[in-house]
Amino acid sequence: MSASTMTIREVIEKVTPGKALADAATQALAQERLEAGDHTSPWFVRALVAVSAWIASIMFLVFVYGARVISSSMGSIVLGAMLIAFAVFLRRAQKNNLFLAQLALALSLAGQALLIVGIGEKMHTAGAALAAIGMSMALIVLYPDKTHRFLSTLIAINAAVIFVYDQHIPYGLQVLVVGLAGAAGHVWHYESSLAAGRMAPVLRPVAYGLIAGMFLLLIPSGLPPDLRMHIRISQTWFPATIALAILLLLLEYRLLSFHKALREMRLSLVVFGGTLVLAMASLKAPGIIAALFVLVIGFHRGNRIITGIAFAFLAIFLSAYYYNLDITLLNKSYTLLAVGTTLLAIRPLLFSAFQNSDKEAAHE
């Protein structure tokens, strides 16, 4: 993932040689910056805004419930819906006013909490969860803000988990994990095609949310078995591992095709064979394959945020895997030494396979 040292002009000239696009590109990029709004803020300014909005919405809820502003579930639903509608209106009307954007974010979060709690009291849990999913999906489209779209994605995923648990759907959590991985893989892999569509501003924050949600859902798989039993989390995670391994193999197949390296037998063998061996070794720990899946996506797209998140979760899931292995410390040490040595031994093999692939590509 080497950082670019080329200018935009150089890239345009290389991609579209002979076309005089400089003026149009300059105008387009200037317009982009004008319309960008909070997109141009550094991450820590966005984090400051998001954290403050959470605090403000909690304070607002303390006021609503503490001062008994509402006394019934219907009141909660009505006030929640009104707050959300007002927040959407405010955010759409004032795209570049950060103060009003901040107020809208806090009101929207407070409104969502009121609405979901009201529906939960009025109906059953599953109904409230479905309503939360519907509400989040609508807000992802309607509310034009990156932070809000990311949070709405996470709220929808959490509501889906509650629904699955409430309905006792077998392997429901694992189906969700695989669905999220598949959706995230699809969106990131076809990022360039999707960037031209009308839904482009929606897709990136949602795609980040899908990855974050998937990792959050996988955390229970890394808990010690007795704790998992205590909180009624499935003990058998191999279906998710198998499905995630298939997704990883598909992704690797596409990447090898993209780099025209499929015919390089040694490289394909190492990549596919390595994935299968790893999947078999980590059948009980789907988090490892999931982290590798995200790592490959992140590196392929040149996205340092995704790559960094994947590394962090890979470290977490690997640690959990070895901690939970039902073998003695001595055998764990042998396993670690064996896997570490294998990885170091594969390096030269992989390196020569890549070199062969490069030679063939150059020959063609």
């Binding site: 670019s4 387009a28 950060l98 107020l103 360039s192 594969i346 992989l350 890549f354």
Partner: protein
């Protein structure tokens, strides 16, 4: 129309902007990302996997060795235990010497040596039950590695020394002065730790402005500032929420607030005018928002109506802070002469 915009570095965001404007097709975007080196080619993949396998393989082997000794630890003779740690220390020092301190591997080996000095001291204390307080271990550890730190030209090693000194101060206060793991009787240790962070930060900024290459990154000064501020927030919060805070040290409470306000004001000026770093201003503002919110929340009690005011106050303060940060970031983009550290998304 902004002149020169096309002569900026091609980033994923700028190239995606060209697709949204209809200048590139999706296929052309994909090609442009490859040409700009954002989407990796075969060689980048090879380098990435090579580094990944080297890193993972090494970490797993080291973990395997540690687990092996951990399994057999209880049954080992104490001289063997000392011998193992000393051998590891010797290997790390030799590796550092062999690779040289101008290479990252040499610096990393020296960092490992410095960490192993602490492990050796801890083991020594465990075997011979020296009766020393924990702060003495950290103080001794700091003193023993000072020489290596000075010659290392390695920011991470300086950071290790700073953290060791801060741990020494806190443990000394907790074990010798206050006899409590959580120091709440005096703000002084927090003020000293804050001072150490400020000193580290000041030295960093002073020497990095002279063009020293290993002081060019921003994560360590940002970490120093965040850590220093976090440590100072503990007694500041206590001074707001506790009825008679630090009763026997009223002057130190005044000093605490003076430190906070003067450091915040100076940081606001320095990181806006001299070394542009929006992160530093942002964390100073966030700390102010948190303290003001704590102050008012502490005085609300069961007056729930007041929480509406507090909610709006938080919105107002954070919205105002974000607006101000954005405006100074925009102003700064037009001033190319200062050192800028803005981390645009």
């Amino acid at each position: 129309m902004e002149p020169g915009v096309l002569d900026k570095e091609a980033t994923p965001e700028s190239l995606r902007g060209l697709v949204r404007a209809g200048i590139f097709s999706p296929d052309e975007l994909e090609r442009s990302l490859s040409i700009a080196g954002i989407i990796p080619d075969g060689k980048s993949w090879s380098r990435f996997l090579n580094t990944l396998f080297l890193l993972l393989g090494s970490v797993l082997i080291v973990a395997g060795v540690i687990f092996f000794f951990a399994y057999n630890w209880a049954s080992m003779h104490h001289l063997l235990k000392l011998g193992i740690v000393q051998a590891a220390l010797l290997i790390a020092v030799v590796l550092s010497f062999y690779n040289g301190l101008d290479k990252l591997t040499g610096k990393a080996a020296l960092l490992a040596s410095s960490i192993l000095v602490g492990a050796l001291l801890a083991l020594f204390g465990q075997i011979y039950q020296t009766g020393a307080d924990a702060y003495e271990l950290f103080l001794g550890w700091s003193i023993l590695i000072v020489g290596w730190v000075v010659i290392s030209d390695f920011a991470s090693l300086w950071l290790l020394l700073l953290l060791l000194l801060e741990t020494t101060v806190y443990l000394y206060w907790g074990q010798v002065v206050a006899s409590a793991w959580f120091v709440y009787d005096s703000p002084l240790p927090y003020e000293i730790i804050f001072g150490l962070n400020v000193l580290g930060l000041a030295l960093w900024e002073a020497f990095s402005s002279r063009g020293i290459s290993w002081l060019s990154g921003r994560w360590i000064p940002r970490l120093c500032a965040s850590l220093g501020l976090f440590v100072l927030m503990i007694p500041l919060t206590l001074s707001i929420v506790v009825h008679h805070p630090f009763e026997s040290h009223p002057n130190l409470v005044v000093l605490l607030w003076l430190l906070y306000l003067s450091a915040g004001t100076f940081a606001g000026w320095f990181y806006r005018v001299r070394v542009f770093d929006l992160y530093m201003i942002a964390i100073a503002l966030l700390s102010l928002i948190v303290l003001v919110a704590i102050f008012f929340a502490n005085r609300m009690g069961s007056n729930y109506g007041g929480f509406l005011f507090l909610s709006l106050l938080v919105v107002g303060m954070s919205g105002g802070a974000a607006m101000w940060l954005r405006s100074i970031a925009k102003t700064q983009h037009r001033r190319p002469y200062e050192r800028q550290h803005n981390d645009d998304s």
